[in-house]
Amino acid sequence: MYAYKCDACGELHHPKHFVCRKCGGTDFTETPLEGEATVLTWTKVYNLPEGYMKPYLCFVIARFDNGLTVSGQINSEQPVTGQRVKAVVGVVKEGVGRDFYGFIFEPAQSVA
């Protein structure tokens, strides 16, 4: 998973944009997006869409220490707002012939 850093002003984007939101620049460099983040909000969803054979799944919006904010799944039964988490890239959805990768957060202390 990558952040897209504007070559002109350094503003980070995720997902990819073609024009920088800050300076209008159009050239970006991919930088790996990883490490720790803080949970801003979370939910536990019980009515999952077609394709998920699970009774529920937890999601978060989390802010990386570099300021970038993303959505992701979280491996936790009961996330907490303000909790420190670590980003792991994993299969978020199994597709036919193509799996989808994305952020799956883990509570930071459990990833030593």
């Binding site: 019980y46 978060v60 959505s71």
Partner: protein, 398 residues
Amino acid sequence: MRAVGIVGVGHTKFGRFTGSFLDMAASAAKEALDDAGVRPVTGHGIDQVFLASMGAGQVNKISGAASALVDTLNLRPAMAETVENGPASGASAVKLGYMAIASGLCDTVLVVGAEQMRVISGWEATDFVATMSHPEAEYPYGLTLPAFAGMFTRLYMDKYGVTEKDLAIVGVKNHENAMHNPVAHIKLVPNLYAITEDEDANVINPYVAEPLRVYHTCPVSDGAAALVLTALDSGREFNHKPVRIAGVGQATDTHVVAERREPTELFAVKESARRAYEMAGIGPEDIDVAELHDAFQILEIAESEEVGFFPKGTGHLAAREGKTRVDGEKPINTSGGLKAKGHPVGATGVSQVVEIVRQLRGEAGGRQVKGAKTGLTVNFGGFGNNVVSIVLTTRERG
């Protein structure tokens, strides 16, 4: 620009429609044409048909559905387009109808919104609606509209002290309103105590997406609604005095919800309403009745703040105090809203306008807001990434 008014309304009963998609869309259209006094085939004078639907192609496997509708109604050779803008498709079609007439290209336009979602299962419908989220940063994660609404609700609770009971109060109010609306999907008023405080409440009103529960969210509905729009200077006679479209505003926000700088703000709601007010030359204090997009009850609270009815962070207090009831100072969702009237996604924006027209004509029966002259609709696409607001009035042009 030419002034545009609405002279005909039609609306199917929301819920499960057992006929075909085209039957449903045509039923609402026919009712609107009859209401206006437009006779199909000869001299109907319909220059253009806009059909709003989010899923005609994806769910019902009908592409270019407006072409089929225009022929079903024998309105050929009227121009026809299908409009897809997620759950804001309906109001987008009204906007395009307005633009077609205001520009001088058309004199009279038929706008129809139709959605038939109950032909698929609930979780397929959830997946279908989720396809409007970002195709890489959101959709593949299993993130759905209820998931975003749940996370938004939690932020609102943390910041402003909104409670689960506040959400239930808004929902029960809308269910009560729907009991007076013959076209509403749900004809059942939940008991506030039973769904919030009773010992059984956690089980009979379970979480959908914490902290949102079943009775904080709208049902999956089929339905269609239709309007006849005309130029006020066309000289044509219709059955009804026109309700004027005084303002149309639309705005977009970041497509990815996580990218918003202030996660409790619905910028596109605020901006679209501001533009609609500005065009109408009025402010929120002039609105007598409003239909806000309450797919989740938190949205009615947040939108009531963004459109300027109540200061930020106090929408839930206004609901608690009864200010948004039919007899309150700012009646919201007299139709029952998406919560109880139902939410056939592409039809919703048109349906909201139908309700305001009925209110301004004084045809709303047991849910009538006394003396209503000016109304507002807010139709919310994505999780607030594309919002259309419309101001309607029976007052003379200022």
